[in-house]
């Protein structure tokens, strides 16, 4: 968990490698309440990018909009140059972007294995699906041991592993992780961050929303800081010194 990428990404991001995901001027409201306003960010292929910020900053809204679960009022989202804006979640998954929602949301009444199978519902290659199911049940031994058990009987940490494995079953190009360490025992927090680190080797690009700022900055290449719905700071993880983050958290990073 110490290996940083050779290339030093800056806020202007990776020179030479065009961004995989580009979010431009995104504004999302719930009725009259604006949850995020004019948010722009990008993620290069293979990068791990963190989105940090206090509760209510709009982090979850951002991820749910990217996944197609919310419709933006303004702005655009493109993946590898093609628009994702306005697509429904089941189509966004087929384009290669999948969300692991906050609170895990495993299907409690389905078995562990069925949860993985449903994660691959968008795919049609049955042999590949079977191989992937085996792969994740091996990669997460605890899931392998409990493959026939109802997912609702798993602990929080086990459910989080299952939720991530379920999302990976769709073979995404871009994984959106919403608070994966929230409410987990410390040992599971370690496992989850190890896993995120390993995903880099698998070539999965990650956009990570986290409360745990220290751990997030350790694993991420770059980060954006959201406060009251807007990006107030961004940069490489090294550059984002904690003083600046704390000021953002207090809402004095930038006026409006």
């Amino acid at each position: 968990m110490t290996d940083e990428p050779g290339e030093d990404h800056t806020a202007d991001h990776a020179e030479g490698s065009p961004a995989l995901l580009v979010v431009d001027g995104l504004t999302v409201s719930y009725g009259a309440v604006v949850a995020i306003r004019d948010v722009s960010l990008d993620v290069a292929p293979g990068e791990i990018v963190a989105v940090l910020g206090p509760n209510g900053a709009g982090k979850t809204t951002l991820l749910r909009t990217l996944a197609g679960a919310l419709k933006p009022q303004h702005g655009s989202v493109t993946l590898d140059g093609s628009a994702l804006t306005g697509l429904v979640p089941e189509v966004v998954v087929r384009r290669g972007v999948v969300l692991v929602p906050e609170g895990r949301h495993v299907f409690a009444g389905l078995t562990v294995e069925e949860n993985l199978t449903i994660g691959g519902i968008a795919r049609t290659d049955r042999d590949g699906l079977r191989a992937d199911t085996e792969r994740w049940l091996t990669r997460f031994p605890i899931l392998g041991q409990r493959s026939g058990q109802m997912a609702g009987t798993l602990s929080g940490g086990e459910q989080q592993q299952l939720a991530i494995a379920r999302a990976l079953m769709s073979r995404p190009r871009m994984l959106l992780l919403d608070e994966p360490s929230l409410g987990l025992a410390p040992i599971f927090v370690d496992r989850i961050f190890e896993l995120i680190q390993q995903l880099r080797a698998d070539g999965v690009t990650v956009l990570l929303v986290e409360q745990n700022v220290h751990r997030a900055l350790k694993v991420a290449d770059r980060a954006y800081v959201l406060s009251v719905g807007s990006v107030v700071a961004s940069g490489s993880s090294d550059q984002l010194v904690e003083g600046e983050l704390e000021r953002s958290y207090l809402g004095i990073g930038r006026a409006g």
Partner: protein
Amino acid sequence: MSPSELVQQLVNALSLGSIYALLALGLSMVYGVLGMLNFAYGELVTITGYSMLAATSLGAPFIVVALVGVIAAAISSVLMELVAFRPLRTASFVSLLFTSFAVAQLIQGGFRQAVSVRSRGIPVPELFDEAVQLGPVRISVLSIITASAGALSLVALTAFMRRSRSGLAMRAAAQDFTTARLVGVRANRVISLAFLLSGILAGIAGVLWIARTTSVNPATGFVPVIQAFIASVIGGLGNLRGAVLGGFFLGTLEVFLQALLPGSFLPYAQAASLLIVVAILYVRPQGLFGARAESV
């Protein structure tokens, strides 16, 4: 009640119960996926009846007549969702409930205008009126056919829900619709599938219902939808296993009240069974079989 009477009544209970179980399953399945109560569900039974009437008038043998009835209900159910409910996908529970009442009225009115207010007879094979003598026990052929058809349908549905990818998608959608979409389950497809299965169940139950009543009129669907509703509430709305158990419970209750109540109380058998249901729900508002369970 003598032992042989008891056996006869048990078979009757099983037979009526399996019709109620199929009806309740179809209603509960749509509720499970969409959270909507489709009160036009009873009209699917009416549609089954009139398509059986049409097929009969064309001289088709009963097995074909029955098949036409099931297919008509299945197609009508899918169309009902496409035309009436899909445009209101995000509407409230009450809006959808009233829309389904409107659909029910429209279909009833259509049959009143196009056919007649009066009942039309639908001939069934004479075999249905016969009974087989098993030692001291006489069992009606129709009861055996109904119970077997019900059992076969339940087994087939269970296998579909447990084994197929579409069944898995439906179970996931019934548990958490939003998350199911986030992992790639197509909302429109899974909803159409729920209405298709619901229509097939209403169609099979409808054929069995018509085989008992041997007639159809524009209001034929009223009793089936009420019984389906009661049975699925007993089982816990949206809980498929509960719907089946609720259906058999309601069927058994009715058959035994009919058999045991003294003659002068018989007109109140239906009311008595409803009273018992109300008493059960007073004690267990979530239904007899627990909260919303997820599997078949």
